[in-house]
Symmetry: C2
Subunit: 339 residues, 2 copies
């Protein structure tokens, strides 16, 4: 069985093609494309097909699983509208069986049409599927480009108390911060520097990817989203953007200053994730953390360490590249189980 799992996010669409022998995974191939669904959702069908065909012929695929978070983008008035539009686009693209990840497992098109919100932002359900391969009692954290899921698992089953992104923002199970696309102004109140505390400019000046480039924690090839100013992704260009967050420029701040400031910003983001993690860990009395996603080592591991929690990485069972698209792999695994 060859199953394709897609995770259709607001900014990125991820694909995993998984070969199964019954329920055993034989081979995994992954890829992703930057597709800003707020402006370009008419390209979805084309992008889904292109992603598959970079790996194999579409005729070889036996079934397709879909998870999504893209229904939140502001091209849709409501999530309901977003889910239904994405489902329709998927149905018009493929002929093989398609299943959609919902809160209670894989759903058909007909089931979703009865209750579209069941499939809204449920991609973390798919990632749970993989976390249970490491431990039946843990909290898994997945920090992607934009958001961080923090999901408790007990006895092999996810036990999140939030049922929607809205509820999960309150429970600590969703922290809206990520490794690439997060506007620095969104989580910085003040930046200490040279004995002063600087407020920040509320503009689209710099994002977390700029900070991690400056600190050598990601490569330019990891920086898969657009820059805020349309300039390049070199270290000096990232520094220029970060300076602007303090209404400064590289005439006023040195490269060394920007590194110092970037280290503070990195710590502030770790603390933001740790705060959500602590809320979940305290409530559920769980102290093993399983990390995945692009931010697993540079953010999640540090957040767990800050709280003195034990950390395992999904890279015990998946490659780093696969960890970045873990929800897509989980989606394929869930879909395979229904066949």
């Amino acid at each position: 069985m060859k199953v394709a799992g897609f995770d259709i996010g607001g900014a990125n669409t991820d694909l995993a093609i998984v070969d199964f022998d019954q329920n055993e995974i034989k081979n995994i191939q992954v890829d992703f494309a930057y597709l800003p669904m707020w402006s370009n959702n008419d390209d979805l069908s084309k992008v889904l097909v292109e992603l598959i065909e970079k790996i194999c012929s579409i005729d070889e695929i036996d079934a397709i699983g879909i998870s999504m978070t893209a229904e939140l983008v502001d091209a849709y008035d409501t999530k309901k509208e977003g889910v239904l539009d994405i489902v329709e686009k998927c149905e018009n693209t493929f002929n093989c069986p398609i299943g959609y990840v919902g809160l209670d497992g894989i759903l058909t098109k007909d089931e979703i049409e009865k209750d579209p919100l069941n499939a809204a932002a449920a991609n973390w359900i798919a990632t749970c599927e993989i976390a249970t391969l490491i431990s039946d009692n843990c909290i898994f954290i997945d920090t992607g480009s934009t958001t961080t899921d923090i999901i408790p698992i007990k006895n092999g089953k996810q036990c999140a108390i939030g049922n929607s992104d809205f509820e999960r923002l309150a429970t600590g199970e969703l922290v809206y911060t990520g490794t690439l696309r997060t506007n620095l102004a969104s989580f910085l109140e003040k930046v200490p520097f040279n004995g002063n505390e600087y407020r920040v400019a509320s503009e689209l000046f710099a994002q977390t990817a700029d900070v991690f480039i400056v600190l050598d924690l990601i490569d330019e090839s990891d920086y898969v989203c657009d820059t805020f100013d349309g300039e390049g992704k070199s270290k000096i260009e990232c520094m220029r953007r970060i300076a602007r967050v303090l209404c400064a420029d590289m005439d006023m701040l040195s490269e060394r200053d920007i590194v110092k400031i970037s280290k503070f910003i990195h710590k502030a983001q770790v603390a933001q994730i740790a705060e959500g993690l602590n809320q979940v860990s305290q409530r559920q009395n769980l102290d093993l953390i399983v990390t995945t996603g692009l931010g697993k080592d540079i953010l999640d591991k540090k957040a767990a360490e800050l709280l003195n929690l034990e950390v395992k990485s999904m890279d015990n069972i998946l490659s780093d590249e696969e960890c970045v698209v873990a929800p897509a792999i989980g989606t394929a695994i869930m879909m395979n189980k229904t066949l």
Copy 2:
């Protein structure tokens, strides 16, 4: 004497044409245009001329004063580059005498070319000129669409200790929050609602203008910037954008819920301004506040009241419409004094 004062901001360019008999103001006419300098600065010359010609013939103008903050936009690598570009564009547009507001008063083109940063973000110097008409010892607050200047004045002279926007972000003299364009995610950490504390989505979902429309504190005609989702400015459209900040929509939250949430957001922004105001007031031992700008009643007055400070509004001497472009009027007054 007929003097035109321009305040060239990142998003808006304001104009005041002031008629003087010696130093006495005989008449003021004002207007403004939305000009996003990060993308459209090549239109600056055209917009300056059009603004004047909506009021009078360009030949009637005896002199032109310019203040600016637009050099900060990310179309410019450094502020120096921004200041020099804006000055060049102004010089190429007009034939009459032109002066530029700098930290130490009006500067010529030649003076600026020696020290461009002197003219960077100095428009608040011009507004001081008007505040002193109300009191020689006060703090004036000007909340525009994007930022808030909080400037101490003693014995008729401004005595801010920050000399650049960068320094002023630390001293409390600049709080980067405004009445229209401020991303809600930039100053909200959590939103209390129905007994829970909700984190917020770090995206470009809603701005302060949306909140003030929902609360009936501004009109659609005041909402002069673009919406984040490209949709309209009606109350229901603003509500939809605000719901999205909590990863919700109008299926999940009622109009009444959004009003409740908007009231909290309004209070949070007042507190943000009050924090900067308190820093300046404590340091300078000043307790009379003079307010101006679009946010004078809905933000600045409330911040002053929160701190039990006495409040006077520039609308004692200027109309509401004139208060919105106070830096442009101050620029004309400063320029007239040099003639």
